[in-house]
Symmetry: C2
Subunit: 205 residues, 2 copies
Amino acid sequence: MYAALLAHIARYVALTPAETQAVSARFTCQTVPRKAHLFEAGQPCPGNYFVLQGCLRLYFVTEKGVEHITRFALENWWLTDYVSFLSQQPSALGIQAVEPTTVAVLSYQNQEALLAQVPALERYFRLLLQRTAAADQNRWMFQLRDSTEERYWHFSRSFPGFVQRVPQYMLASYLGCTPEFLSKVRAKANSGKATPGLAPKGGIS
Amino acid sequence: MYAALLAHIARYVALTPAETQAVSARFTCQTVPRKAHLFEAGQPCPGNYFVLQGCLRLYFVTEKGVEHITRFALENWWLTDYVSFLSQQPSALGIQAVEPTTVAVLSYQNQEALLAQVPALERYFRLLLQRTAAADQNRWMFQLRDSTEERYWHFSRSFPGFVQRVPQYMLASYLGCTPEFLSKVRAKANSGKATPGLAPKGGIS
DNA sequence: CGGATCGTTGATCAACTTCAACGGTCGTGG
DNA sequence: CCACGACCGTTGAAGTTGATCAACGATCCG
C-alpha cells in the first residue's frame, strides 16, 4: 500500500518487519482530484502529507485576494504547514492538489504515537528535516543573489519537466512575481533576445 | 560550562546525568572577537554552532563582491551551513561573529557519535528542526507578501533591540535590499511621512 | 457553441537600485 | 590629546526591474 513511503524511509533508517507494520498502520491513504483541498486556511492542518502520486501546493491568500505559494511537493516529498501542524492552531495556509493526487497522511496524534512506538523514525525525520533546511538555505541564496528572471531559468533547469506540470501563474506565485512578468521573460527567450547566459540550455523544450 | 546549552536541551528532552555528561564531553567551547570567522567560504563547515553569548551571521559573497546574509543567530540559537555540514564538502558560505561571541561547537563526527550514544538527542534535533522549518515558512510568507519596507518594520518590531545590535548594512543584506534604501525608509518614518500603518509602534526608540 | 480559464502583449507606474558625494563617529597612532 | 583614516549611515539624481491595468487570443471542457 505504502511501498514508496516505506522505500523512502528505508533509504534513511532500517526498520524491523514489526516496525514496518506499525508504520503502515499509522497512515491513512487519501486520493483527491485536481484542485481539491487537503485542508484550507482557517482549520488546523490535519497532518503531515507524503505524496505517493501527483503534486501539491502549500499556499496562502492575502487580504486583497492574491495567492502566494510557499512550497510545492511532488512524489516522495513531504508537505505540511509546520506552523499549524506543530501548534494545532488554525492554519493561515491551505494545501491543494495541483494534479489528481494520492497521499499518505500522518495525523499529528499518529505522528506522536508512531515516534514513541518506533524511535528510529526520530532519526528519519531529523535527517529529512536537515535536508529540508539545506534546500531552504539554497533557496534563500538564490532569492538574495539572483534576479527574478535568473531564478526562473535556474528553477526550470533544476526541475526539468516540472515547469510543464504546473500552470505558469503558479510558478510565478512561487517565484514571487506576476504571471505577466514570467510571460515576458519567456517571450524574450523565444525571440532570441534573451540575456546571454540566462536562456535555457537548448531553448525551450 | 554549557549551562545554557544543557538548559536548552532540557526544554525538549530529559537526559540522565550520564547522558548529560556525555553531551558535555562532545562539545568544545570557542570564544572569538568581533569580525572573526568561525569558518570561511572554501572550507568545509566544521560544525554545528550553538551561541552561548553574542551574535553570528551566515553569509556568502557574489562574484561581484556583494555580501548576502542568509541567517543570524543570537544566544540560544543553533547555526550552521547545512549544505556543507551534511556533505562535508567545501562551503559556499562563511560564519562570522557580529559581536564578541562564545559558541559551543559540535563537529560533524561528534554529532554523529553523540546521536548514536544519546538517542534522545535525535528527538531534540528533530523538534528543533521542525521549529526552524516553521520559522522559515513564516519568513517565506513575509517575503512573498510584504514589500521591503513592510518587512523592515515587521522585523524590527519582531526583534526589538536586535536592530540596535547589528549594523544597518547587515540588516539590509539580510532583508535583501540596499543600505541606502533602508536609510531612506527610516528617514521617512522620522519625518512623520511614513506610510500609515507601517511605522514602528511608538516611533523609533 | 459558449463560458471559463490561462497565457500574452503593450502602456504606464511604483519600488528599489546605482552611483556619487557628504558627514558623523570611533579607534588608533603620532 | 589631537588628527587622521576607516567605517558607516545619509542624501539626492538618474536608471532598472518588475508591477499594474486593460485588452486580446487560445484552449479546454461542458
